[in-house]
Point group: C2
Chain length 231, copies 2
């Protein structure tokens, strides 16, 4: 390309919107900033991308450093580059969303320092966020709302074994609307991507629900059969 305008170089970062589903709530992982700019504010976990590092690997690394988790479902969804989004100057960020199974028994183990202050926040009660992170979060919600309607990403948020009611609640939270129980079960089971287990829920003081797991092989076989939910 011709250099009519001078090239300039910019810092760039990756920010992650990490969703988790816990105690019947949809949560997002935030860190409390301890650094220059927006000190003490909550922010999305994010970091500088390294010289020799692609975007996806950077996102994976950052998530690992914050949570100790690897092999997590992540997807890039938008780049944010407004001129004034960062007080230090021009910083462009590429945003990813991630979905992780929250295992209440297993603490997240941050690998580097600043992650000590990472906490899960219910998405309906988020504090003000640093930079344009509120905007980034909103965009991620839009994206997963659409995506959950045609691809089985919700399973990434659930434990290996789950009940149909848990699955339905999760859909309801993400889509932000009530679904009909009988219709939901009929439809979900019809897709044929769930495997019914011989196992039941334990430790509940009412009739125990059957456990299911997501059958990735069956899903792959359907090749692009898309899910869809409206009511």
């Amino acid at each position: 390309m011709q250099e009519i305008v001078p090239k300039f170089e910019s810092i760039f970062t990756v920010d992650c919107v990490v969703f988790g589903f816990d105690e019947g709530e949809l949560k997002v992982l935030l860190i409390e900033r301890n650094e220059e700019d927006y000190t003490g504010w909550w922010a999305l976990p994010g970091y500088y991308v390294q010289q020799d590092e692609g975007l996806d690997p950077a996102a994976e690394r950052i998530l690992y450093e914050l949570t100790g988790l690897r092999d997590i479902y992540m997807e890039q969804f938008y780049a944010f580059g407004d001129v004034d989004r960062h007080p230090q100057g021009r910083v462009i960020t590429v945003a990813y969303f991630a979905m992780i199974r929250l295992n209440p028994l297993k603490e997240l183990k941050p690998v580097i320092n600043y992650a000590r202050k990472a906490f899960w926040h219910p998405i309906n009660d988020l504090p003000k966020l640093a930079f344009d992170h509120t905007q980034i979060f909103e965009k991620s919600l839009e994206k997963i709302r659409r995506k959950i309607s045609y691809q089985p990403i919700a399973f990434e948020l659930l434990p290996e074994k789950f009940t149909l009611t848990q699955l339905q609640h999760l859909y309801e939270l993400i889509l932000n609307k009530k679904l009909d129980k009988r219709n939901f079960r009929k439809k979900m089971l019809n897709y044929g991507i769930l495997k019914e287990l011989d196992e039941k829920q334990r430790g509940v003081s009412y009739r125990a629900a059957t456990l299911y797991k997501f059958d990735r092989r069956k899903y792959a076989r359907l090749f692009q059969k898309e899910l869809s939910f409206s009511k």
Copy 2:
């Protein structure tokens, strides 16, 4: 954020996948490179983002410089940042797709030099592209395929006044499958977002078709009513 790894700075660019619909074909705008790296290769129009310029404005500027067109439908769809995507070093690009009405009577008027070598290429017969531009193009196709199924972006590619057959052909090209004429018309007219005009097609040697136009106001009133097409 703590500076555990050194920050580094990177060049970044915007690349545009510009779609046009002409002579019954879906086309994409390519430039022939006259610069260092991939000299003589076809590439997507793209350029360096300026220091004081946001991403969306950069995309709009670049499209304007290449085509002389403004107020075009554009949407950012993905950032590409593989370490080795550019021979000169680390260059991250934010990709946009754009859709423009090709008016055969009105030539595109490039404002800057390198755009002299811009041509429209049918999407089914693209040459090898420079850098990772083939990959960028493929991703843009995926995106518009999905998007056209739930939002009225196809109209951006058609002239103000169009026939239902033209509209159907365009859907068929983008979705890459045949649609049934009667079902298509029934469905499209049912959405209530088209305005039937008193005017007919001219200059054809067969029965002239009724012209329609897209009614933005009615569409807005439907507020998120989504289109959908399967067969």
